[in-house]
Amino acid sequence: MPRTLQGNTGEWELVIGMEVHAQVSSNAKLFSGAATAFGAEPNTQVSLVDAAMPGMLPVINGYCVEQAVRTGLGLKAQINLRSVFDRKNYFYPDLPQGYQISQFTQPVVGKGEVAIEVDGEERRIGITRLHLEQDAGKSVHDMAPDATFVDLNRSGVALMEIVSEPDIRSPEEAGAYLTKLRAILRYLGTCDGNMEEGSMRADVNVSVRRPGEGYGTRCEIKNVNSIRFVQQAIMYEAQRQIDLIESGGKVVQETRLFDANKGETRSMRSKEEAHDYRYFPDPDLLPLELDAAWVEKIKAGLPELPDEKAKRFQDALGLTADIAGQLVAEREIADYFEQVAKSRDAKIAANWVTGELFRYLNDKGLAIGKSPVSASALGGLIDLIADGTVSNRLAKDVFDEMAASGKDAATVVDEKGLRQISDTGAIEAAVDQAIAQGAKQVEQYRGGNEKILGWFVGQVMKATGGKANPATVNEILRKKLSG
């Protein structure tokens, strides 16, 4: 697909890079023993360290380091055995220390990559770095007309900032990148990827240029909290810059805010002045030194990641790239599918999962974890199709009934009397009846009209409540009609 936008004076290419803030899944904060759970009463998960009381000292949470390293390994990135924490200085009411502990020149994770696919074309988006840092507290501006309310529960929670190279060229690629990154984090268990709760949010750098030319001036859109908004923000911002340049103006490097209600970005000039963070090494923290063997141990324990899983589903199970991609999008889906496919036909299992199951879950707005039909129950249904107990056509009704009632396939088939009739005697009787009723159709068939067979099949199915085995019906019909 074309990755350029058409302006009034010619083509423009988009250049997009992203900084994703992903909350580390951990019990306690990065430098204190306070809890990280979402949704607690304000300021109840705050230690005196997080509140920056004088004399309080940070002590690093080893598991947060492990999670960052695990993520780096999942992004096929360089792990730096020595990294340094710096102070990033700025003032804001929800930042009690007056600085954020972050990593600047020596991050824990270096260069890596994420593979994405848009319209069948695979691209690799470079990862520049991943570093560990503290989250700030939360300011609430709408609780009183005269005051801003500050909750420090998030203050000090561990974040991974994952910075991409400016390798992204379209809103679709930006969406694919975020989707894949989120899937990798969720597979690894290092971030829950919950964008509604703010566990993952993106700063998006956008610039435009004539194809083949050097980079243009970029604008940074801060804190966008859904994949759809990221795409909208990029489209709006790219068009704004193109219009600006084509009408003789110049893009000014600045921080902008995405207004989801209006679907536009606007300047945040207030932040510009304070953009001098005066980083320096945090004297409260020694360098972070990792043992190579410890890193190797984490590497050895990595789960199978979505790309590898998709490849295995194609190579070993013969699934198409599209179906495999759908199945690995979430670890829970892949696990469900593998349970259904275990010692069954993988393609049939994949068709049921991506077909009837996805249709049902989408209709009801359910995640796979909430599916009323368990993997073993769906497997049971597939077994009943395989052994001829239920026809493919009626199996869909059985599935819907299983979803509605929570009962297993065999019970539904028995209770609803949906057992397929493969008994030739019963089918023969229905066929005889159809032939007796359709003297005209018999003539047409014998006159060479093969299509009329469908009418007879319909009659037999009607007589048997759709339960006759279609293959048997066809076979008997042909025999009797030509006889």
């Binding site: 023993g33 690093i60 949470n61 947060c64 003032f91 309310f149 207030s270 923290l285």
Partner: protein, 95 residues
């Protein structure tokens, strides 16, 4: 390196310090003296010397991922000039 009045004003503003115009000149002179004193260190040849992060040979201590703290809202809010409904409250900050 020499600090002029404008730079001193900027440093003060970044540190949220209110410095009257009349005092900038004197501060610049004082800061320049300090800078001059520290710049004596520039005479030391540090080629090939790793930046030193500590004087004692210590390792960064790691903590287990266990919740051991928090639940002290009263203490956290005790010194706040103003708080309501469990929040710190500050003069309205509008973006």
């Amino acid at each position: 390196m020499s600090l002029d009045k404008a730079t001193v004003a900027r440093i003060a503003s970044l540190a949220r310090l209110k410095v009257p115009n009349a005092e900038l000149e004197g501060l610049a002179t004082e800061l320049n003296k300090i800078m001059g004193w520290i710049s004596e260190l520039d005479q030391v040849n540090t080629d090939g010397v790793e930046p030193m992060s500590q004087a004692a040979d210590l390792k960064l201590r790691w903590r287990d991922d266990v919740v051991t703290d928090g639940g002290v809202r009263d203490k956290v809010l005790a010194n706040a000039p103003d708080s309501r409904e469990g929040f710190f409250t500050v003069p309205k900050v509008v973006e």
